[in-house]
């Protein structure tokens, strides 16, 4: 049963106008158009989407989970990037 396998595609769906496309899952398809049509049938049977992106899985590059600790380290000690870091009097309004 040697058969050429259709490539794998990652599916991203915008659930409504104004929201980001979000990863929904993956599927196999011969090409992009078929991937979009399959994604409609597989992931939006109940109006879950108004827009679909597909990208062949082999083109997705990802950060490595093994290096997560060191990779995200630079943001770890910069609490001053958050508004709550600043000590201001309660009388100060609208800020």
């Amino acid at each position: 049963m040697a058969e050429n396998q259709w490539p794998l595609w990652e599916v991203f769906i915008r659930s409504k106008q104004g929201l980001d496309h979000k990863h929904a899952g993956s599927l196999h398809a011969a090409d992009a158009q078929m991937a979009i049509e399959n994604a409609r049938d597989v992931y939006t049977r109940r109006m879950e989407g108004v827009s679909i992106w597909v990208v062949e899985s082999k083109y997705v590059h990802a950060s490595s989970p093994d290096d997560a600790t060191s990779f995200y380290e630079p943001a770890n000690d910069k609490v001053y990037r958050h508004p709550t870091f600043y000590d201001l009097p309660d009388e100060l309004k609208h800020m």
């Binding site: 794998l8 993956s26 599927l27 011969a30 090409d31 597989v42």
Partner: protein, 320 residues
């Protein structure tokens, strides 16, 4: 500090892995995981996927003979959902490194199992009701806890599936409710379907806890969150009440409320029947598998045509 997994011992990695699971942190595809976890998940998830796919057959049997257009549209939508569930689960299984072709091959050669419930025949229209109520009901009972499974892609697929399952069970109950208010013949048909589907549904939760040696490991990994008997008891308790609304009975003379346990007691399960069907000797095992293989083989030209079409379109794009 740089944590490099390549310099860590398997024991250290296993500890980090189990600590994450204990802290309810999901495992994602690229995270390190023990081989046994990966293998067990591939088996569990692909079996589940196969069950969704084979599960379309008994119900598809009644699509052309649905009594009204409303019922027909509903049944088509349900069967289509089951195809979708199979696809969510195959896709999630593939994130563990198993190929789709390989998974299908295992199903078609009988190497992989699917839920035995689908090896029973659908003899009357009432079976569509009993399947929705009992079979989808038991599936939901099994699946809801898996929305919190430790493997991310699996848990996310289950969330999607559970959202869709609720309509399956409700439409089934509605079919039975309608029959239960019908003629004497329709009421008989309703009871007959419940009689035939009850025990196989109760068996869907698998062997008793003392006969499921892998439960402890699966629970530790959080790819199983309640034992077979716990889920089965919940199912029996709920159905024993729901059947009253239908004015029907559950075919178990030992079914009785136990005030002390605050649960229904129920009769002994015929495990010989269960294992017999698992081993391939149920009423429809051969028919189901043959239908699956035939569908795959007869679909080969469609897959080839789609590939050829995609290539042609690619060529045209290059020339343009």
């Amino acid at each position: 500090m740089r944590v490099n997994i390549h310099h860590m011992s398997v024991q250290d990695l296993e500890k980090i892995f189990q600590d994450k699971i204990d802290a309810d942190i999901r495992i994602e595809p690229k995270d390190w995981m023990p081989d046994a976890y990966r293998k067990t998940l591939i088996r569990q998830m692909s079996q589940h996927a196969h069950s969704e796919i084979v599960g379309m057959l008994p119900e598809a049997n009644w699509i052309t003979r649905a009594p009204t257009l409303r019922r027909k549209a509903t049944l088509i939508a349900k069967v289509q959902d089951e195809a979708g569930h199979g696809l969510y689960l195959y896709a999630a299984t593939e994130t563990l490194g198993a190929g789709r072709e390989e998974l299908l091959e295992q199903l078609h050669t009988g190497k992989a199992k699917y839920s035995s419930i689908f090896n029973y025949p659908t003899l009357t229209w009432a079976d569509m009701g009993a399947i929705g109520w009992l079979v989808d009901g038991a599936a939901i009972m099994n699946q809801v806890p898996l929305c919190r499974a430790s493997y991310g892609p699996y848990a996310r697929a289950m969330v999607r599936i559970c959202k869709e399952e609720s309509f399956h069970q409700r439409q089934g109950f509605e079919i039975l409710l309608t029959l239960s208010k019908g003629s004497a013949g329709q009421r008989r048909m309703c009871q007959d379907a419940i009689d035939r589907w009850w025990w196989p549904s109760v068996m869907m939760f698998g062997p008793n806890d003392d006969a499921s040696p892998h439960t402890a490991q699966s629970m530790q990994w959080k790819i199983k969150r309640f034992s077979n008997d716990e889920l089965r008891q919940r199912f029996v308790d709920i159905c024993a009440e729901q059947v009253k609304i239908l004015g029907m009975t559950i075919p178990d003379p030992d079914l009785k409320w136990n005030e002390q346990r605050q649960h229904y007691d129920f009769g002994a399960i015929d495990w010989d029947e269960f294992w017999n069907v698992v081993k391939g000797n149920g009423p429809c095992n051969k028919e189901r598998l043959a239908a699956r293989v035939r569908a795959h083989e007869e679909g080969a030209w469609v897959r080839e045509a789609a590939t050829a079409h995609a290539e042609k379109r690619e060529l045209k794009k290059d020339r343009a």
